[in-house]
């Protein structure tokens, strides 16, 4: 599963795009220009990238309230996403969804979800579909450490095992569910172990290491594609910002994030490794940095300039016919 140069660049581009998207939102939100509740994915990019690099548009994912990273990694249009977050008429969901409800069905992105634990049953159902289609496609749900305690998620895992469905349960343990620590809320203190108890293969990796995620996910997807039933992947990671933008983060030691940014930044780690091993040059990555910065600039500009979702559309899109 060694990645060639093109794929490595792709991985970096995905992670960098997510990072830049979120860092820019962090700034824009502070200005008050963006409505609602926004949860940034900064710091967790390697998970979305490492998992989604194995998927095509015909594979499905379901995401969470912290979903921008998953959307970008699955190929959603970045400008359409930004517009959606600004509530614009031509946002990916016409401004009706917002940050927590971005979907793109052409890309197999079945939706972010603002209900913690809402997604895994849906991804499980999508795997019923791919299994019936018999086309070797798979699904994956993303969820946090906090989501791993939700009853709907346990049910989905059991159902997936019972029906031997090709679906991957990805748990991003970023240490907290809102203000509550994983070590408190997950009784077993071991999400992967608990998943194993459900009768599926489970792996635990450093979510700050793209290569670790990519390799583990690859092995698990191989198992899924071989028809051997579902699997779980726990990725230990941190989020660089608060639970939502505006979170005072009193539950965190002052230097917690700083330390993580130092030692666990997936972008730094990736760059170090690929340049260290001579797989890519700094200049390759710098070029991507520049392109991504330009893309995000454009996304924010276009989003700001785009027309607001029109009130005439308030009552459309509820039903196909009624």
């Amino acid at each position: 599963m060694a990645l060639d140069k093109t794929r490595l660049l792709e991985a970096y581009r995905v992670m960098k795009t997510i990072r830049e998207f979120e860092e820019r939102l962090h700034v824009e939100i502070a200005t008050g220009a963006i409505p609602g509740f926004t949860h940034l994915y900064s710091g967790q990019e390697a998970v979305a990238a490492g998992v989604c690099m194995h998927l095509s548009d015909d594979d499905y994912i379901v995401s969470t309230h912290r979903g921008h990273g998953h959307c970008i990694a699955k190929g959603c249009d970045v400008i359409g996403m930004m517009k959606e977050i600004y509530g614009r008429a031509d946002g990916l969901c016409k401004g009706k969804g917002g940050s927590m409800h971005i979907a793109d069905f052409d890309k197999g992105m079945l939706g972010a979800n603002a209900i913690v634990g809402g997604g895994p049953p849906i991804a499980t159902g999508a795997a019923i579909a791919t299994k019936l289609d018999g086309n070797g496609k798979v699904s994956a749900s993303f969820g946090g450490d906090g989501s791993s305690n939700q009853g709907t998620v346990f049910e989905a895992m059991n159902l997936a095992v019972v029906l031997k469905l090709p679906t991957l349960f990805v748990y991003e343990d970023n240490g907290y569910g809102e203000h509550t620590g994983t070590s408190y809320a997950v009784g077993s203190d071991d999400i992967a172990g608990r998943c194993e108890g459900f009768g599926m293969t489970a792996k635990k990796v450093d979510g700050g290491d793209f290569f670790a995620v990519y390799e583990a996910a690859g092995e698990l997807f191989d198992q899924l594609r071989a028809g051997d039933g579902p699997a779980a992947l726990e990725c230990t990671i941190t989020r660089f910002y608060g639970h939502y933008e505006g979170d005072p983060q009193r539950y965190r030691a002052k230097d917690e994030v700083a330390n993580f940014r130092e030692s666990k930044d997936c972008l730094k780690n990736f760059r170090q490794r690929v340049t260290g091993e001579g797989l890519l040059d700094d200049s390759d990555l710098d070029a991507i940095d520049a392109e991504v910065a330009e893309l995000i600039d454009r996304a924010v500009e276009e989003a700001k300039a785009a027309p607001a979702a029109p009130i005439s559309e308030l009552e459309t899109d509820v039903y196909i016919s009624y």
């Binding site: 969901c93 979907a103 079945l110 849906i122 159902g125 019936l132 709907t152 159902l159 039903y319 196909i320």
Partner: protein, 335 residues
């Protein structure tokens, strides 16, 4: 036309539609029955027999027994629908919406809107419903008022075998999510059922009887009770329009208002407790949009504001009776 029970009418419709469209799958507890047992493979066909024979006919890929995990059942149906299928999810009893509501309320109902109209989620959730079989407080509820309140869902409640067939066929071809309530006490109810393809559009009430003195709106089993009440009253010269809305979302308010143009008097019968019920819902709409037509206070005949009791007499007293309906009709007529 052949005479069939509502159960058989539904069962045959499921067979016909699954044969027609291979994207239809069905999942739920014991929709086949027998998996992991020592006996026959298809042991149940649904606890009420509505899905009997589907497993044998269409196989375990399309007729899927599940663990007792209602959130996963409805959620999986949602996911399969987003991925191109037309799943039928069965809640063994409508009451179990308690453990599965999120997937219906916050997910299926809202996908199309939240995602800007870019997807469809053609799930049919079947829910055996209603009191009358002494099953107690947690196995006898109506639930449809709650579901009707949810934008994004369509709500179907047939009162007879022919409607059950016509509405189920429509449900299984509809591109929106549909919640299909089947009153348990009506499963054995027999009636003529058209052969062949038969569809009834949603949002078209049935005018079950015509009359002059009042308009009676009734749902599901209450239609049969209203008919009993009317049988008695007709002997006394009181006749009524009897309207069965058949779907509460969309609701055919027009047919009710048209009838009120003739009668001016409205009785609404709903087996649910009174608050935020279909009865008060229709009454409220009529008080708003049909006020000028009304010649008397609207009468609502509902269950009391209590859970469903177990004991026979109590449950019989709980469910609106033909006598309760007659009394309400007499009251509006005498006004």
């Amino acid at each position: 036309m052949p005479v069939k029970s509502m159960r058989d009418a539904l069962n045959e419709t499921l067979h016909a539609e699954m044969a027609r469209d291979e994207k239809i799958i069905i999942l739920g507890e014991d929709v086949a029955g027998g998996a992991g047992g020592t006996g026959v493979e298809e042991a149940a066909g649904g606890i009420f027999g509505v899905s009997a024979g589907l497993y044998t006919k269409f196989g375990k890929e399309r007729v899927i027994d599940t663990p007792i995990s209602e959130s996963a059942i409805i959620g999986a149906a949602a996911g399969a629908a987003l991925a191109g299928y037309r799943p039928i999810a069965e809640l063994m009893f409508a009451d179990f919406i308690g453990v599965s509501m999120d997937q219906l309320y916050n997910q299926i109902a809202k996908f199309r809107y939240m995602f800007g109209g870019k997807t469809r989620c053609p799930v049919v959730v079947r829910m055996p419903t209603g009191a009358g079989m002494n099953m107690g407080a947690q196995h006898s509820q109506t639930i449809y008022p709650i579901v009707t309140s949810v934008p994004g869902l369509k709500v179907v409640i047939p009162s007879n075998p022919a409607d059950a067939k016509g509405l189920m066929t429509t449900a299984l071809r509809d591109d929106d999510p549909v919640v299909f309530f089947e009153h348990k006490a009506l499963y054995p109810r027999k009636g003529e059922v058209p052969d062949g393809e038969y569809m009834i559009p949603f949002g078209e009430a049935a005018l079950v009887r015509e009359g002059e003195d009042a308009t009676v709106v009734a749902i599901a089993r209450m239609v049969t009770f209203a008919e009993k009440a009317l049988d008695g009253l007709e002997a006394n010269g009181i006749t009524c329009d009897l309207i069965d809305p058949r779907t509460t979302s969309p609701l055919d308010l027009d047919t009710i208002l048209e009838s009120l143009e003739g009668t001016g008097r409205l009785v609404i019968v709903d087996e649910s407790p009174p608050r935020c019920s279909i009865a008060s819902d229709i009454a409220g709409m009529v008080a708003s949009e049909g006020f000028d037509l009304l010649k008397a206070p609207i009468q609502m005949v509902t269950a009391p504001h209590t859970p469903v009791p177990f004991a026979k007499d109590l449950e019989r007293a709980y469910v609106p009776s033909p006598d309760d309906i007659s009394a309400a009709i007499r009251k509006v007529v005498a006004y």
